[in-house]
Amino acid sequence: MSFARFIIKRSLQGIFVVWGVVTVVFLLRFSTPGDPITFIAPLDASPELRQRIAEELGLNQPLYVQYFDYLTGLLTGDMGYSYISGTEAATRIFARVPATVELAVAATVVAIVISIPLGVISATRRHEPADYAATTFSLAGISTPNFWLGIMLVLVFAVQLNFLPTSRRPVGIVQAVEVLVLSGNYAGIVLWLQHITLPAITLGTYFTALVTRLTRSGMLDELGKSYVDAARAKGLPETLVRYKHALRNTLIPVITVLGLQLGTLIGGAVITEAVFAWPGLGTLVINSINTRDWPLIQGCLIVIGSSFVFVNIAVDALYAYVNPQVVYD
């Protein structure tokens, strides 16, 4: 099967899974105890007021009507209106996406930049202090709850040392870069860096640790294989032996695991955002759940679920790209 057909097939499967996600979320909503009206109406609202609100939101329609309305709306990018604020859910949700993407990408970059060299060093200096340090770090890293890590970082760097801000995202990277390009003013970039540092470390630590572990054990495996000896025997410099030959094969399974761990990344982002008041999807989803703002909950879960599915397809494609042995099936 050709690569293109493979991607098309995976995408179709992905769409099916997204449809499943939409349906599950929809069913979740209607199997949930507690009428959404009680969360929308004021504490002492009268039954008439509740009834009127229900009519206004279309909540008195039969379930299947609401479901098909929702599905057709979704195809046009319409996720309905927030119960609480009356604004478009899709607008609200997509306004939050950049913050989360920014955080996730920053964390991933931190993780990759640190973990892969660390894993390689750890594997090539086995039983040396560098290896023990890396192993200890990665063990602690995968065992530390990231919200606690975030709090401790705030305690040390913000509360005690007063060195970095505790929270918030006063400016996005896009705006900061825009200002830099248009006015040459880099205060925005500095500000952005100051605010994203602690959240990115908080979210990135687990992945740094995980990828370090995977890289280390993968490298140990690969370095023990005879193609590495063969590469050395033909006189290839050690850097090429490690980074071109061994690392390449190490990263193939690492990529797969990372794809599967994307959910963890998003879950981690949710709690990291909560710790740092980062205005991303995570804080939106938690707030929406607390207020039973169903259009927002649904929208967020669908956006998160779809991105998971499609990022995994991208990971599969990348996997196929780096691994010539893959058979498209």
Binding site: S226, A230, A233, G235, T239
Partner: protein, 420 residues
């Protein structure tokens, strides 16, 4: 014929969690110009480690702890005659005393290696052509630089690699190298080499892959090719082709081959001279005729007894009873390591045994009788077996049991260790 390589008293140790493993214990041998020198032994006897030690490919937790590897190379000898006089002797240099960078720079143009399993000896995620081209490129770059700077330019940095991977049109290997790689593939008998060069190892058959492997090893036009069980992983029908190829190439290029195998058939077919290894030691060496016609060491005899005779298949194969010892330092006594399996073990075998010249019965040591052709580490080189001094059948059995209460489970573990 002159020697191209003289290995003296080579010792390689592995420092594992179970303890120190003496994988190579005081090994000495010579390789001459244009000959095929065979090293034969059971798996776990240390043959591969010997080969890897010679070309300095021992990785942690292993380390070459002693011995000398004299390599004949006039240029190299001139270069280091002043700087490191102790490492130079005539045209010979002791590789063990040269800087690591120089030793590394010898891989390819001086030494090269063909591995046992071609499937795992080529990188599965890089095309075959690219891998061979790399080997060519290493030599091209080496030749472009004077030797004195070679060890430095060998340090092809990570930064450079990243730049090369990202910037289009920049690669480690040049077009010339790739073309040369295709020539090499053709030379080793791969049909349609241009197309095959673009393929990945998993698209090759085992025999083709071993040819490619040989092409890669030949890229640097080495003086010495180490072939570590080059046919073991292949079908019987393919084995002969590969062996023929190796021999033809050896003649064409006038290189020396160190042939490592457990298969006496391969030895008989290919080699000029042979060393028999057991438990990290060369227990007997000599010409093909010496070993096959006139073996002294009971282990050699045992090995010979274990090849089926095509002309007379009726006698039962008599494999040597028992297992290769663990090679754990703590468990190695000062005795003949084969004694516990030896049908002719005598009390004399309980002492440490030196190498004897089988003709004179004298000890071959550093310098002394070094030119001896046929040697054996066995008291039988000096005297006849004496049944009166023989050790009882259960002599070692009891001991083994007493020293290791966890047998037989742990035997399996030790095997794993000794394979390291």
């Amino acid at each position: 014929m002159d020697e191209i390589l003289r290995v003296r008293d080579l010792k390689t140790r592995f420092f594992t969690e179970e303890g120190q493993v003496n994988a190579v214990e005081s090994v000495s041998f010579d390789v001459r110009d244009g000959e095929i020198f065979g090293i034969v032994g059971e798996s776990g006897s240390g043959k591969s480690v010997t080969a890897l030690s010679v070309i300095d490919l021992i990785e942690s937790p292993g380390r070459v702890t002693g011995g000398e590897v004299w390599y004949r190379n006039a240029d190299l000898a001139d270069e280091f005659r002043e700087k490191r006089s102790e490492a130079v002797d005539g045209d010979f240099v002791d590789l063990r005393r040269l800087p690591k960078g120089v030793r590394r720079s010898l891989r390819g143009p001086s030494f090269s290696m063909v591995f046992q399993d071609p499937m795992s000896s080529l990188n599965p995620s890089i095309t075959v052509g690219e891998q061979i081209a790399e080997a060519v490129e290493v030599q091209r770059r080496a030749r472009a630089n004077p030797r004195s700077t070679r060890s430095r330019t060998q340090g092809y940095g990570l930064g450079k690699y990243l730049v090369d991977s990202i910037v289009p049109g920049r690669e480690y290997t040049s077009t010339e190298s790739k073309e040369r790689a295709i020539e090499l593939l053709e030379q080793v008998g791969i049909p349609d080499p241009e197309a095959r060069a673009e393929e990945y190892p998993h698209q090759f058959s085992g025999g083709m892959l071993q040819r490619a492997m040989i092409a890669q090893a030949l890229a640097g036009e080495p003086d010495i090719l180490v072939a570590d069980e080059p046919t073991t992983a292949l079908d019987v029908t393919i084995q002969a082709q590969i062996l023929n190829l190796l021999r033809d190439l050896q003649r064409e290029q006038d290189m020396s081959i160190i042939m490592i195998t457990h298969d006496l058939g391969v030895i008989a077919r290919m080699c000029d001279r042979v060393g028999v290894m057991y438990a990290g030691q060369i227990v007997e060496r000599g010409t093909l005729g010496d070993i096959f016609e006139n073996p002294v060491h009971p282990y050699t005899e045992g090995l010979l007894g274990s090849i089926p005779d095509l002309e007379d298949p009726s006698p039962r194969l008599s494999p040597i009873e028992g297992n290769v010892p663990s090679l754990l330092d703590s468990e190695m006594g000062g005795r003949c390591y084969f004694a516990d399996r030896c049908p002719n073990a005598m009390e004399a075998c309980l002492n440490s045994i030196p190498e004897y010249d089988t003709d004179s019965g004298e000890v071959v040591g550093d310098g002394a009788n070094a030119e001896a052709v046929h040697t054996a580490r066995c008291v039988l080189a000096t005297r006849e077996f004496d049944a009166a001094e023989a050790l009882g059948d259960d002599y070692f059995g009891d001991r083994a049991e007493a020293s290791d209460p966890e047998t037989p489970d742990d035997a399996a573990e030790q095997e794993v260790v000794s394979d390291a």
